[in-house]
């Protein structure tokens, strides 16, 4: 259950303001691709175009093509709701449903997909929580509210919720930025395990994290404030961090700007 993403000529707008311009890249299946770049260069915007979450913002729209294997997500007639069921997302701030128990949080996506049988739900909830390395911590309080967990646990709950529906791709927007180092490590380990099954894209401001978890790294930048963000280069992570082909990438990674 992992698909290749092939983006070509993609631009995204907020109203009439262009936030990212002409991005083309390929994301390999069963691998982790990291997005790095200075704040405001459009990493989140780009990530959200990959599961058609960009367009839920009023007046926002997208131009270009995103191919998931051989299906264009932006072809007319494609239902964005169906896209979001195949391309899961984890947000920067943990956002479990506050009115739901831990169990119901994980089961939410499954129920949306029409799964009703208690036995099936139980199995998949357990599997997903185990997959998110959270099972041991919560197995005795599945009926307690999800909002009662610690931040790191909540983020892993959100990951469990996202992987429960077995998406093809998992998008993560700075999933560790609100977490302590230990929870961060837990989630990085988890990402390492999840890439066996999913295509993973992760936005991060943490260079070490990008180096640790990703196979490939994409560097985004903007020419000047007010200009749209662009993809500068994408390559093997090792290469980006040792010998990038563009000077700006090296400057950014070594902390000379941004």
């Amino acid at each position: 259950m992992a698909k290749r993403i092939d983006v070509s000529g993609l631009s995204a707008y907020y109203g009439s303001a262009k936030a990212i311009e002409d991005i083309s890249m390929t994301v390999e299946p069963r691998s982790v691709t990291a997005f790095i770049g200075p704040s405001g260069c459009g990493k989140s915007t780009f990530l959200r175009t990959l599961n058609r979450m960009h367009e839920v913002i009023p007046n926002a729209h997208v131009e270009g093509k995103v191919m998931l294997d051989d299906e264009n997500l932006y072809a007319s007639g494609v239902d964005p709701v169906a896209v979001r069921r195949t391309v899961g997302m984890v947000f920067q701030r943990p956002n479990p449903f506050p009115t739901m128990s831990i169990y119901d949080n994980v089961a939410a996506g499954l129920k949306l997909n029409g799964m009703r049988r208690k036995g099936d739900l139980d199995t998949l909830v357990e599997k997903s929580l185990k997959g998110a390395n959270l099972w041991n911590e919560v197995k005795d309080r599945l009926n307690k509210p999800g909002a009662g967990l610690s931040g790191g646990q909540q983020q892993r709950l959100c990951i469990a919720r996202a992987i429960a529906v077995e998406p093809q791709v998992l998008l993560m927007d700075e999933p560790c930025s609100a977490l302590d180092p230990i929870s961060t490590l837990a989630i990085e380990d988890l990402i390492g395990e999840l890439k066996e099954r999913f295509t993973i894209v992760i936005v991060t401001h943490n260079m070490q994290q990008a180096a640790r978890v990703s196979d490939r790294t994409a560097f985004f930048n903007l020419a000047a404030v007010g200009q749209p963000g662009r993809l500068i280069e994408i390559d093997e992570t090792e290469r980006i961090f040792s010998n990038p082909s563009v000077q700006a990438t090296e400057d950014y990674i070594s902390g000379r700007f941004g």
């Binding site: 709701v81 997302m89 506050p98 009115t99 939410a108 509210p145 959100c158 996202a162 529906v165």
Partner: protein
């Protein structure tokens, strides 16, 4: 959740070992702020004095009103020659006075229930439409319109009810009677009579409380944090599923509060009910039959020509209305509090 709940208990548990007078224990906590001490303290003291003073004043005024009303009411009830709770008719000006709130209290509750059953679902629907479905160009004027409706004086609704609603509900009444008479409540004994009934009153009240319930609900729905809605969207929820998963659970307690505001208005509505209803002392659950009454309507129509004793009796009925309101509000608060740990508040 658990931490915040156990924190106060722990704080209390610490008290016995120290066992000093409370002000002694607080001394070390006082932050040393030598420079601007005088300035800040004066402002603080003025403000806390003013707020405490007005708080106390308010309580005193309320207590005085309550004491006065209770005194008059108890006197009236003591001289009642019928049973105040079970007597159906209201003859407080007669000698000997015989009056009770059986019909009035029932009618108050019935008409308010009808109003709520009709108004709350519609209000929630309209609020959701304005907050989550309507395009912005439509949502703004719509919200404004609903605001305007909330400001229409109740006598206007009353006149409209009497002149327009009552004659136009005749057909509905007959239709309900011919198809739903088996439900007992919709069994009309004289379907051909003009429907100046509790049912009509309930519908009028529903229309009257619709704007306020809609507006408050809409405000609540707009408060739902973006990230909760996006959580549902990212799972592949349709617009309706987002509402079901994120918006409604988050807005639940707010909608209950909004409904309580509406209910308060429905319970206490005087002029509109008095204009529409033809009151009688018949206690009946056939809501399509003309007759019955509500406490507020009875006060409105009886206060003018009431004897001094009759006024005291009306005050007694007003206290009953107050108790009803209090009970309903308490129940709503219980509902809100029961699942508090699941509310959006601690997200």
């Amino acid at each position: 959740m658990e931490i915040s709940r156990s924190a106060p208990t722990q704080a209390k548990a610490v008290v016995p070992p120290e066992s000093g007078p409370p002000n002694l224990r607080q001394t070390p906590v006082e932050p040393p702020a030598p420079q601007n001490k005088g300035k800040v303290r004066l402002g603080d003291r003025l403000f806390s004095g003013a707020s405490r003073g007005s708080g106390i004043l308010l309580l005193v005024i309320m207590a005085a009103i309550a004491a006065f009303l209770t005194y008059r009411a108890v006197g009236a009830i003591a001289d009642d020659h019928g049973n105040f709770l079970t007597t159906k008719e209201w003859n407080a000006n007669a000698t000997p006075p015989v009056f009770g709130i059986a019909v009035l209290a029932t009618g108050t509750v019935i008409s308010a229930v009808i109003a709520m059953v009709i108004a709350v679902p519609i209000a929630v629907g309209v609020a959701l439409f304005i907050s989550h479905y309507a395009p912005r160009k439509l949502a703004q004027p719509l919200a404004y319109l609903v605001d305007l409706l909330a400001a229409v004086p109740s006598i206007v609704y009353g006149l409209w009810g009497a002149l327009f609603l009552v004659p136009h509900l005749q057909g509905t009444t007959q239709w309900l009677d011919s198809f739903f008479a088996w439900t007992y409540v919709f069994d009309a004994s004289q379907p051909e009579v003009t429907p100046r009934s509790l049912f009509t009153v309930g519908i009028l009240l529903a229309i009257m409380i619709l704007p306020i319930v809609t507006n408050v609900s809409r405000e609540v729905f707009l408060q739902v944090p973006r990230m909760h809605e996006e959580a549902a969207l990212a799972l592949g929820a349709t617009r309706w599923e987002v509402i079901r998963i994120s918006v409604l659970p988050f807005g639940r307690s707010g909608v209950i509060s909004a409904s309580m505001l509406g209910l308060g208005r429905a319970l206490g509505e005087t002029m509109a009910v008095a204009t529409v209803l033809s009151p009688s002392a018949i206690l009946s659950l056939h809501i399509l039959d003309p007759g019955g009454g509500t406490i507020a309507q009875n006060i409105a129509s009886g206060f003018g020509e009431a004897s001094p004793f009759g006024r005291d009796a009306l005050i007694a009925s007003g206290l009953v209305l107050f108790v009803i309101t209090l009970v309903v509000n308490g129940a709503a608060r219980l509902i809100i509090a029961r699942r508090k740990e699941y509310s959006g508040a601690n997200a």
